[in-house]
């Protein structure tokens, strides 16, 4: 095991990106992700990379569009309002099938909101956000070591599928510090040659990277069909999930990211009280690990969705569970976060209610 060093979540993500060969970063300041441009401004010159503090979030995402088209591993980061500004660019990059990493260190919304942590950008991240039928691979780490590992994987998956990847972090995960083992980068997939990049066409046919496809029937329709096929392939190959104490669990908490981490503590408390609780945590939010959720719904009596929003993630949980068992909800937006005790209380009330129901049936 390598040496562990103490870093903030935002810094961990940057170091992993640098280790994975990211050599272009463009961003614009916003709390709570400011450690990202700060760290990158120091690290990029050390590895002969490029750091740009862009004039706006929109400029930054379009610089990433250009960097990716030229074949460089690249990323941008922001927090919720800034990510909203980037949506046009993300749609273009997805349309042009270019790889890149976009980090959203979520804060409270809507609007300018506040600077506390939130998970209210779930819909925006997994359902599109920009225009057109496109998908972005969305990752939801729950520890700083996982931020490190997934950031490295993100660049591989982006290159492998030629698709943007979003790291859906939050203000807590970004700001908290934890010891992390800085592992050397090793690709987790066989990386295809970048035969689409614009790196000078001397001696070969010119290439074009574009998102405007005016011909409908044999142009944009075909392109969309191709994209959908790719997305189906990603869905079948890349859905990641962690289960904790679900085997005999009557109540299974569904949560992702930092919320799942706190929920795990609640499961531990519930188990100590003799309550059969468990946790299912998607690591990829898109593709959503629907099969794992469907399996859990077969054995669980109830599912409790916990999220730091007023109910977005729960819609995907319900789609996956498909009515097999009831799905309860605990969550708020605007900077609220759950404690282990609040989640435990909810579990206890669900147990009490199910006992009452069972008696009623008699």
């Amino acid at each position: 095991m390598g040496k562990k060093i103490l870093l903030k979540g935002n810094e961990v993500m940057c170091e992993a990106a640098v280790q994975a060969g990211c050599r272009f970063f463009a961003g614009y300041p916003i709390t709570p992700q400011n450690e990202v441009p700060e760290y990158m401004s120091k690290r990029m010159p050390q590895v002969s990379g490029v750091f740009v503090q862009a004039e706006s979030e929109i400029a930054a995402i379009n610089m990433v569009f250009g960097a990716s088209a030229s074949g460089v591993r690249c990323m941008t980061s922001s927090s919720s309002p800034g990510i909203s500004l980037k949506q046009e660019g993300i749609s273009y990059i997805a349309g042009a099938e270019l790889p890149c990493l976009i980090a959203n260190v979520q804060r409270g919304g809507p609007g300018l909101g506040n600077i506390r942590a939130s998970q209210a950008d779930y819909f925006q991240a997994v359902k599109g956000g920009g225009h057109g039928d496109y998908r972005v691979i969305v990752l939801a780490p729950a520890s700083l070591q996982e931020i490190y590992n997934l950031t490295m994987n993100a660049f591989d998956w982006a290159d492998y599928y030629r698709n943007p990847v979003m790291m859906l972090s939050d203000g807590i995960s970004g700001q908290m510090a934890e010891p992390v083992e800085i592992l050397p980068y090793k690709p987790i997939v066989d990386l295809p040659a970048k035969d689409y990049i614009l790196d000078g066409c001397k001696g070969r046919k010119p290439r074009v990277v574009k998102t405007l496809v005016l011909r409908p029937t044999d142009g944009l329709v075909t392109h969309n069909e191709h994209l959908q096929e790719k997305y189906k392939c990603i869905e079948s190959e890349l859905s990641l999930c962690e289960e904790y104490e679900t085997a005999d669990a009557e109540i299974v908490i569904a949560a992702y990211g930092i919320t799942a981490r706190i929920a795990k503590g609640a499961v531990r408390l519930a188990r100590k009280k003799g309550l059969a609780a468990g946790l299912i945590r998607p690591i990829t939010l898109w593709p959503f690990p629907s099969d794992a959720f469907a399996d859990v719904a077969e054995t669980a009596r109830q599912i409790l969705t916990v999220e730091m929003s007023h109910g977005q993630f729960i819609e995907d949980v319900k789609l996956a569970v498909n009515g097999t068992c009831p799905v309860e909800f605990l969550g708020k937006g605007g900077g609220w976060y759950p404690t282990e005790e609040i989640i435990l209380e909810k579990i206890e009330s669900m147990v009490a209610a199910s006992v009452t129901t069972a008696k009623g049936e008699l």
Binding site: I172, M176, A177, G265, E340
Partner: protein, 189 residues
């Protein structure tokens, strides 16, 4: 609450080096191969406003990074005592910088470490090391981490910046350890 973890809040004025205390303690915990999560209050902070940091240390996996009811608090000024004293777990521990806090804790169940941190820092030669004086007192009277891990953490943090900072901070650390005392809970019979 039944916990294997030690949950700490550090609080004082912005500019008193609250964040650095958290950083030193967290780094020492990493040196001892413990799990640790550190967090700093962030946002519209400013010099002279209140600042606080939290550290959770455990031999097991840490789930909840937040500290709402600390087992131990390190308090460097009066407003922070007023704010955090009610939140401390029963039979918890409080460290007070008596240079800037004139009244003792109102609760009778708390173990209390008293250190004249600002005064001692002045004697050491720099007012700004009052935070490390407090760390010295804290480590001396708790079984949480060893003094040598704290020394190592201070060296790691300052040696690349300025070797003189290592020297004065180590002096502050030891002065805090020597010139502090720990009172058992007054409520204990």
């Amino acid at each position: 609450m039944d916990r294997q973890e030690t949950r700490i809040i550090i609080a004082g004025f912005g500019g008193q080096g609250i964040v650095l205390i958290g950083n030193v303690i967290a780094r020492a915990a990493v040196i001892e191969n413990k799990n640790v999560v550190g967090m700093v209050s962030y946002g519209a902070e400013m010099r002279g406003g209140t600042a606080n940091a939290t550290v959770v240390i455990s031999d097991d996996e840490i789930f909840n990074p937040f500290v709402s009811h600390p087992d131990m608090v390190i308090i460097l000024n009066q407003p922070s005592l007023d704010r955090f004293e009610p939140q401390i777990e029963k039979d918890g521990l409080i460290l007070m910088n008596t240079s800037m806090i004139k009244r003792g804790p109102q609760r009778t169940d708390l173990k209390c470490i008293k250190v004249d941190a600002t005064q001692i820092a002045q004697e050491v030669g720099n007012l700004r090391v009052a935070n490390i004086v407090s760390v010295g007192a804290f480590i001396e009277h708790t079984n949480l981490l060893s003094m040598s891990s704290i020394e190592q953490a201070i060296e790691d943090l300052f040696s690349s910046k300025n070797p003189k900072l290592v020297e004065i901070n180590l002096k502050a650390l030891h002065s805090g350890a020597e010139q502090s005392h720990c009172l058992q809970p007054v409520g204990r019979t």
